[in-house]
C-alpha cells in the first residue's frame, strides 16, 4: 500500500506492504539501521522510535499504522534538541557501553524530556523501564537524563 508520513521532519512517500513491521520498513526499505532489533516482541525497547512524539516499539507497529503520522528515528535526533542534549550527556557521563540499546534509550528519554523538564530519578526510572540495558546497570543513564534535563532547562532560561 502507498504510505505517506513525516519521517524525521521530511514528507515521505513509500509503497510497502501494510503489514510489514515498522522496524523492517525502517531498516530494510529506508536503510535507517540506527533502530535496533533486540527481541521482536516489545520487551526490550531497542527498537524504540517516536510516533507522533510518543515512544513506541517499532517491532509492534505495522507500516499501515503510520500512514499520515509523524515519525522520529535516531537518525533524526539531530533535529530534536532533547535528543541532541541527551546524546551529549550520554557520552559525557559514560551512559554508553555496548551501545546497542542506546538509540532506543535516547529516544525514550527524549519523549520524556519533551514534556518534562523537572524530573526525579524515580520518574526517569519509571519512564525508561521499557528499555532494557544489560551493560550499564542504568546508573549512568539516569545521571545522563538528569544532566540533559538541567541543561535544557537552563538553556531555555537564557
Amino acid at each position: 500500500m502507498k504510505l505517506t508520513f513525516k519521517l524525521n521532519g521530511k514528507k515521505t512517500l513509500i509503497d510497502a506492504p501494510g503489514n510489514m513491521r515498522l522496524i523492517d520498513l525502517l531498516r530494510e526499505r529506508l536503510e535507517l539501521t540506527g533502530t535496533k532489533e533486540g527481541c521482536g516482541k516489545g520487551e526490550c525497547g531497542a527498537c524504540t522510535v517516536l510516533l507522533d512524539n510518543q515512544a513506541v516499539c517499532s517491532c509492534l507497529v505495522l507500516s499501515a499504522q503510520i500512514d499520515g503520522r509523524s515519525l522520529i528515528t535516531i537518525e533524526g535526533a539531530e533535529k530534536m534538541k532533547e535528543a541532541e542534549a541527551l546524546r551529549t550527556a550520554f557520552a559525557e557521563t559514560g551512559a554508553i557501553q555496548c551501545g546497542f540499546c542506546t538509540p532506543g534509550m535516547i529516544l525514550s528519554a527524549a519523549a520524556l524530556l519533551r514534556t518534562h523538564r523537572k524530573l526525579s530519578a524515580a520518574q526517569i526510572k519509571r519512564h525508561l523501564a521499557g528499555n532494557l540495558c544489560r551493560c550499564t546497570g542504568y546508573s549512568k543513564i539516569i545521571e545522563a537524563v538528569e544532566a540533559a534535563a538541567i541543561k535544557l532547562k537552563n538553556g531555555k532560561r537564557k
Binding site: M1, P17, G18, N19, R21, G40, K41, G42, E43, G45, T48, L51, Q54, A55, V56, C57, C59, L60, V61, L62, S63, A64, Q65, D67, G68, S108, A111, L112, K125, R126, H127, A129, G130, N131
Partner: protein, 286 residues
C-alpha cells in the same frame, strides 16, 4: 513472503463491513497479537484490519450517568484522562502499572479485553466498575456485562463480524483500588491482581465489589468475599477475615511465574492492603 494486504478502514462502518469476512482479524494496538504472530512464522498471517484511523473509537466521553471509553483508547490515554481519574481510579492505576511506556502508548483497552488473558490488567478494574462492553457488527449492536464476556483464557462470546467498540462505566465516585504483584517492579506480567470498589455509608460497607486477576481461567468476582463484606464495618478483624475468605475463592494454577499456593495467599495480602488503604482514607493504596 507475500502476505495478504492490510485493510485500513477510515470509518467504523467500513471496518464493520470488512469484518464480515471470515479470514480477517482486527488489530488494535497490536501489542499482543504481533507478539503472537512473531512466533508463527511458518504459517501465513491472517489479513489484518487496522483500526488506528477510526477517530470515534478513541474517544473518552461522559454521557448521561456513564462514561464511554472508546475501544481504541490507549493505556496512556486512560492514564491521562482526568475524568477517569475521578470515576475509575482502579482502571487508571491498572493501566499505569501495565507494561512499559512504549506498550502503554500502543496497547488499547479494547485489545486488552479482546485478548481475554486472565492476567489482563484492565479487566479486574472493569469488573468492579460494573463495566459493560458494546459489541457492534454491521447488522447489530449489543451491550454486555464485562463478567459475561469471557468464556476462558483467550475465549470470549465475541461473534464473527463483531467488534468491541466501547466500554461503558456507570458514573460513581465510590472509592476503589487496584493492586498487583508482578515478576519485577516494571514491565511485568501480573502474578496476581486484585481490584476492589466499595460503597461506604456511615462507616460500614453498603456494597462491595472485589475482582481477582490471574487466579482462575478468567478474571473472577470474589462473590463470597463481597457477601461477607457487605454490611460490615471496616476494621482489622473484618479485613483479616475477608483476606481468609478471598484466599479460598481464588483458584489459581502452578505456572512458570509462581505456585498456586503462593498466589492464593497473595490474593489475601493484596485484598488486605487494599482494604487497609480504604480504611485509612487512601482511594488507591498503590
Amino acid at each position: 513472503m507475500i502476505r495478504s494486504e492490510t485493510i485500513v478502514p477510515r470509518s467504523l462502518a467500513d471496518a464493520l463491513r470488512v469484518l464480515i469476512r471470515r479470514d480477517v482479524i482486527p488489530i488494535a494496538g497490536g501489542t499482543d497479537i504481533l507478539v503472537k504472530l512473531h512466533d508463527r512464522i511458518d504459517r501465513p498471517w491472517p489479513q489484518l484490519i487496522v483500526l488506528d484511523n477510526i477517530k470515534q473509537l478513541k474517544k473518552i466521553d461522559v454521557g448521561r450517568g456513564h462514561i464511554d471509553i472508546g475501544a481504541m483508547a490507549t493505556f496512556t490515554d486512560i492514564e491521562r484522562s482526568k475524568i477517569l481519574s475521578k470515576y475509575a481510579m482502579p482502571l487508571v492505576t491498572a493501566v499505569s502499572l501495565a507494561g512499559s511506556v512504549q506498550i502503554r502508548n500502543r496497547a488499547t483497552i479494547g485489545g486488552n479485553i479482546a485478548n481475554a488473558s486472565p492476567a489482563g490488567d484492565t479487566i479486574p478494574p472493569l469488573f468492579v466498575l460494573d463495566a459493560q462492553i458494546e459489541l457492534r457488527s454491521a447488522k447489530s449492536v449489543r451491550l454486555v456485562k464485562i463478567a459475561d464476556f469471557f468464556n476462558g483464557p483467550g475465549k470470549t462470546i465475541l461473534k464473527s463480524g463483531e467488534l468491541i467498540t466501547k466500554i461503558r462505566i456507570p458514573l460513581s465516585d465510590y472509592p476503589g483500588f487496584f493492586l498487583r504483584l508482578g515478576t519485577r517492579k516494571a514491565l511485568a506480567i501480573s502474578k496476581v491482581s486484585v481490584a476492589g470498589r466499595f460503597k461506604i455509608t456511615s462507616n460500614s460497607i453498603a456494597e462491595a465489589r472485589v475482582a481477582l486477576g490471574a487466579v482462575a481461567p478468567t478474571v473472577i468476582r470474589a462473590a463470597k468475599t463481597e457477601k461477607f463484606l457487605n454490611g460490615k464495618t471496616l476494621d482489622e478483624a473484618t479485613i483479616e477475615k475477608a483476606a481468609e475468605i478471598v484466599r479460598d475463592e481464588a483458584r489459581p494454577i502452578d505456572d512458570i511465574r509462581s505456585s498456586a499456593e503462593y498466589r492464593k495467599n497473595m490474593v489475601g495480602v493484596l485484598l488486605k492492603r487494599g482494604l487497609r488503604g480504604l480504611m485509612n482514607g487512601f482511594v488507591n493504596a498503590d
